[in-house]
Subunit: 138 residues, 3 copies
C-alpha cells in the first residue's frame, strides 16, 4: 500500500524550524498503514528536514551552528550564477538533507519521547514550501 | 512484504560506535525478503546511525571530529531547558541523522567490502538504545 | 512492486560531482512504478549521494567546503591502518551519507526545478563506482 500527500506551508525567515510531527502522523493515520514507513521529502534545494528534540534552545542552536559551519556572506562560487546571497543556504540544506524516513508501527510514527520531525528553512527569505509525504506498508 | 523488528543494546560512553551490520543482515534473512530495502532507525534524539568502513582508526576519527564541529562544553541554548550538558550531543545526532536505508538484493545487504552499518552514541553517558529495523520488498 | 538496477560509472578526481538525475528518472520510467519512492545508494565508503542545485558554482563550493571541514592531510587515525591518505574521504562520505530516498509521483521523480540528484567522489583518486537504485511502489 502506498499513500502520498503534500504538506504546504509558509516559512517566515532563515533558520526557522517547524515541528511537522503532528501533520505527518495525521497523514499516516489517514493512509491506513499499520506497519511500514513514511518518507518526508522537502521539494526544493534550500530547505531541509530532520529529527531533533524540538525545544526552543535547540531551535536557536541548530541554525546558529549551521551558520557557523557555512557562514552567510562568505565566498561562494554559487554567487557567480545567481548573485542572490544564498550560497550558504544551499550548502546547509544539502548537508542536512531533504529526505527523512521514519518507521511506522501499529499505525504510529516510531519516535522517541523527545524526538520530533522538523522542517528547516535555510534560504534567506520567507518561502512557500512543499513537503511530499509518502507512506508505505500494510 | 513488510517485516519489522527491534535491536536493543547498551552503549558504554559518548562517541562509542558499534558495528550492527551482522544483526541487520540476520533480520533481513529472517524477513525472507530477497529484493528490496531495509531501513535502520535510532529511536531517540542523541544517537545516530550511518555507514562507514568500520576499522579502529575511523572509530576514533569520527567522534573526535564531531566533537570538533560541535564541541562539548561550548555554549548551547539547549542547556537553558535541561542543564544536562548534552547540547552538542543533540546537534551531532541531528547532523548525522537517525535513519539509514540500505538496499537488499538476493536476500543480502548490498554494501561495499569496506562499508558497514554503525550505531553511534552521541550522548554523554551510557544509554539503553532501541533501533527499529524495517525490511520491505519481495 | 520492487524494481532494482545498477548504475556503473567512473569518476575522474576527488570532489567530482555528477548529476545522475536523468539516469535515475530513466530507471524509474523503466520500472513502471507510478507512485512510490526510489532509493539511491552508493556502494562503498568513500563516495556519497545527495540533492543540490546542480550548477557549476556549487560544484566548486561543496567539495571545497567539505575539504575545509575535514581537510586532506590532517591527522586521521584511519592512516594507521591503511596509510592511503584518504581519512578525510571517509569522514566526508559518512557525513554526507551514501543513501538518498526521493518520492515518485505519476511516474516522475518529485524534485524542485533547481534540485538535482548528485553523486560525489570523496576519494583521492579516480574510482569505478556502483550505485544501486531501488524503485518501489505501485
Amino acid at each position: 500500500m502506498v499513500y502520498q500527500d503534500t504538506l504546504s506551508f509558509s516559512t517566515s525567515k532563515s533558520g526557522q524550524m517547524q515541528d511537522i510531527t503532528g501533520q505527518i502522523q495525521d497523514l499516516v493515520s489517514r493512509s491506513g498503514v499499520k506497519r511500514g514507513m513514511v518518507n518526508i521529502f522537502n521539494v526544493g534545494s534550500t530547505a531541509a528536514v530532520g529529527a531533533i528534540e524540538f525545544e526552543p534552545g535547540l531551535q536557536e542552536d541548530l541554525p546558529r551552528e549551521l551558520n557557523r559551519i557555512f557562514p552567510p556572506g562568505a565566498h561562494y562560487d554559487h554567487e557567480k550564477a545567481w548573485h542572490d546571497g544564498n550560497g550558504h543556504s544551499h550548502l546547509q540544506a544539502t548537508l542536512m538533507g531533504p529526505s527523512l524516513t521514519v518507521p511506522v508501527s501499529e499505525g504510529e510514527l516510531v519516535l522517541g519521547t523527545w524526538q520530533q520531525i522538523f522542517h528547516m528553512e535555510c534560504d534567506i527569505k520567507p518561502r512557500q514550501r512543499t513537503v511530499l509525504v509518502t507512506v508505505y506498508g500494510e
